[in-house]
Symmetry: C2
Subunit: 283 residues, 2 copies
């Protein structure tokens, strides 16, 4: 891997930022708020920031870059797809539970639901995320989708994944803003009490975590190398370096090259044949 040391340093920074974010969210709810429980009280609401930071930001971020960890390149692509889908499924479940916590808290206190921009964009993000997971499963994990469909869907899958991830972080920042304004009264948010400083720093950490994940996910030279059968199917004269140049943030940060290589009709037909035979690792 080119720039292995730099990749490791960025990965360590991202893990640190993500890990400290989770710690900050726990310090927030346990030290400054009422802690956690599931009883319709403010303690139930507190699951919302903890689960969003842990699942919808941190685990989603790791799911995005999991194909790029060089020590996974020995593992089969199928296994990596299951890990990618599995992490995203965990993140989705935590995001849904985090929403249920807010709805139950609101209902217990007769606070209206779904009035704020935070709730509008947050709900849209969860819906798009679930749709993305369902379509990703149907197109890339199940063996039914033809190769041209996979190739056509891959750039959309990658773009949607990164855009939803950025939107989730933006929504978390709105949520932090709302919660600090509503809950800090004496002293108010504008007086910058220690809780406000801690939670502002949590927001900054989320932005740094997101920026690091987006950088790592979009370097073409850190992409998982093509599968062996994809290498064999390479058109004559196309070097592995040449194909690596195809890798774009938008064309497949988590794409198997064999999903994408459709520019050679012969290779495409051979892929289709392998598809039918169930020989490709993507099945």
């Amino acid at each position: 891997m080119e720039g292995y040391g730099r990749f490791l340093a960025l990965l360590a920074s991202a893990l640190l930022a993500g890990f400290v974010s989770v710690i900050f969210s726990l310090v927030w709810v346990f030290h400054y708020r009422e802690g956690l429980s599931w009883d319709g009280s403010a303690r139930e609401f507190n699951w919302h920031p903890v689960l969003v930071v842990t699942g919808f930001v941190f685990i989603q971020g790791i799911a995005i870059i999991v194909y790029r960890l060089p020590w996974t390149w020995k593992c089969s692509k199928l296994l990596m797809k299951f890990i990618h889908a599995g992490l995203n499924t965990i993140a989705m479940i935590l995001a849904i539970v985090s929403m249920v916590a807010v709805f139950e808290y609101h209902n217990a206190r007769n606070i209206p639901n779904m009035y704020s921009l935070h709730s509008w964009i947050g709900l849209a993000a969860v819906i798009f995320y679930s749709l993305q997971l369902f379509l990703g499963f149907a197109v890339f994990l199940l063996p039914f989708a033809p190769v041209p469909l996979r190739a056509a869907f891959m750039p959309i899958h990658v773009y949607l994944g990164l855009t939803i991830f950025a939107t989730v972080i933006a929504t978390a920042l709105m949520g932090i803003t709302e919660k600090l304004i509503f809950s800090l009264k004496n002293p108010a948010y504008s007086a910058s009490p220690p809780e406000a400083t801690l939670v502002n720093c949590l927001g900054l950490l989320l932005v740094i975590f997101g920026a690091l994940i987006l950088w790592m996910a979009s370097r073409p030279h850190w992409k998982r190398p093509p599968e062996e059968n994809a290498k064999l199917l390479q058109p004559i004269g196309e070097t592995p370096e040449g194909t690596e140049a195809e890798s774009t943030m938008t064309d497949g940060s988590n794409a198997d090259k064999s999903d994408l290589r459709t520019n050679s009709e012969a290779a495409r037909k051979q892929n289709l044949k392998l598809d039918e035979a169930g020989q490709r690792s993507t099945m």
Copy 2:
């Protein structure tokens, strides 16, 4: 241009979303708030959302995709660089004026400055944006930077540009959240008065505008074709189609191919010679 119709449809949608966002920000301050003036009152604050939406979101978004408009491909790269830098300069000035409006409003009312997450991330975005503009000017417009430096800086420039753009939209969403909570009292934000619905829709439009710009900026086949001299310098056997595959969201949505082509030592040296002679369009 491949997919010209689709590009035009997306461009029209982005322009519509951006234009309606500006209209919504004006309706907000003129119909629901006190209008605009420069006297330390709430009317001075109102410049903040109007200038951010117009300059820091809409104009910045257009600046990002200006190289991709196919009817500009006949224009020299130098002219396009000036337009790109010029639009970004206008956006930066409007962003700074919008911040001054808030500081003056706060100071006139003895409201503390820089306590909220919105203000922290907003100020960081303006600083990074100004730095990005300054470095972009020094590296890509002035004739002093050597080609290897330009090639090394280009992916960082593109990544930073898109990340700052996304961060600016996230900051605007936080600002909308803050302002609606602070200013809607009777009825409150939670009662969803018409003003809240209008401004929530403004927030949604900003997200849609951002998503459209990021999609257009990251399609490799919509990249400005390489300059004539870059074509001449192409290593033998590398087709224009092959080089187009190099285009990534991260490697140069606004890069002249001649800035990037360093894989051939001969081409690099020739570029350097052209640099010295001031013959390249990027000077």
